[in-house]
Symmetry: C2
Subunit: 251 residues, 2 copies
């Protein structure tokens, strides 16, 4: 069973993430959305608002993945350089997209009009299409397999909504979780053996400390639902054999 695996990468553009000022939410948001589209998030890079850094990351990742997403840096201010940097990466000019201009003209009609700064948000790499933005005026941008999204998470979410169902993907990755109040080191061998015995499945082990106790969740992932179920049964049996009552669904 050698099914085609579709992959995506994400470049998070923003000094605010690298300075620690802002907690990124777009990695988890995009990853969850991609899972549903049958696409795996294969790699993420966080780069500063510096053209060379953006160009390097975009060009490294867009050729080895089916899709490349970026978040951040598409607003109207001087530190919003994403469109220019990606145009350099793609080797094309930056042009004002007439439809984006029309959208912004409408959006700002009752908000002081379309100034030069606002018109910046209609600029796209030549040949790009737009991604609808129901939340605020400025649209996202699609150029080939490159998707340029906003950085503010609820605007990013709206753009992902607009893209739902439009990208080709494979089988969605299914997952089930089993938890137990156990130190993962106690059942590490059983976990590894269970994974090796079931090709096509991955078992992640995620320890935590809560209420003064050690526990772990074990996440079983595969594209085949019956395989996931078999591995979950094996884990339930393995945990009980170790004297640890498993908790289906995780802790």
């Amino acid at each position: 069973m050698s099914e085609r695996i579709w992959t995506a990468a994400l470049v998070v553009i923003g000094d605010e993430i690298l300075s620690g000022r802002t907690q990124d939410k777009n990695v988890a948001q995009l990853a969850s959305w991609l899972n549903v589209q049958g696409i795996r998030l294969a790699e993420v890079r966080v780069v500063p608002d510096v053209q060379d850094a953006i160009v390097e990351a975009v060009n490294a990742l867009r050729v080895r993945n089916d899709y490349l997403f970026t978040t951040g840096g598409i607003g109207p201010t001087h530190d919003d350089i994403t469109v220019d940097a990606i145009a350099v990466a793609l080797g094309v000019s930056v042009v004002v997209h007439p439809q984006a201009r029309a959208v912004l003209e409408r959006h700002y009609e009752t908000r002081g009009g379309l100034t030069d700064a606002r018109l910046r948000m209609a600029r796209v790499p030549e040949g790009a299409d737009l991604i609808a933005n129901r939340m605020s005026g400025a649209p996202g941008i699609r150029w080939g397999n490159v998707f340029i999204l906003a950085g503010v998470p609820h605007i990013t979410a709206g753009m992902l909504d607009a893209l739902t169902g439009t990208l080709e993907g494979g089988l969605p990755v299914l997952s089930r979780t089993v938890g137990a109040w156990v130190a993962e080191s106690e059942i590490a061998e059983m976990l590894g053996e269970t994974e090796r015995a079931h090709p096509g499945v991955s078992i992640g082990s995620y320890p935590f400390f809560r209420e003064g106790k050690t526990g772990a969740n074990f996440v079983v992932r595969a594209t085949d639902a019956a395989l996931v179920d078999r591995v979950v049964e094996a884990l339930l049996g393995g945990l009980r054999a170790a004297g640890r009552e498993p908790i289906e669904g995780g802790i």
Copy 2:
């Protein structure tokens, strides 16, 4: 005034981040800690639990930064492959560190003893030193400019505490924030002019939508406190001139 800038990169190792299951907290945590050490977080990569991906990221980033940190994948289970992958990247063997073994023997003395799975956590790239872990048994690892830390955020925090003050850095980056209830597109030109007029300073503009209103915070960063203060004064004046009452400290 050309001061030496010290940089660090971070490789986050973990399928759980790329699957969207777990929200990363270590980027923001490490970034904030590095700021205090006078070191800038220059780039982050999130890679899966796959040896080739870890090797590529570690080798790309450790040569072009003063320090390279990794988080995740140093536990006792089959998916914890960080130490082996980094040893491959460094071109050295993996050995059991006698002091790490002693730490684990003590830690597990009353917890069922040091099993093979637990002994995995004493393995290090040959030539490594240990980083103390007050939280749980297994230590972090330092090899040259590479720092291998835990993925569970409060354990990572303990290891960073142990490293505080031990790394050479430059002047800490200072920052002050000014907020206003304004669409950033209204004052984009003033922001850009203010930044250009003050070499050595960066002004980040971070828009948000709250209580049905549009606002933005402007973060002024530089290593020179007097310069930061001058730019904040300029921003306060610029915002008032635009008819928007600034809020010092941000919104």
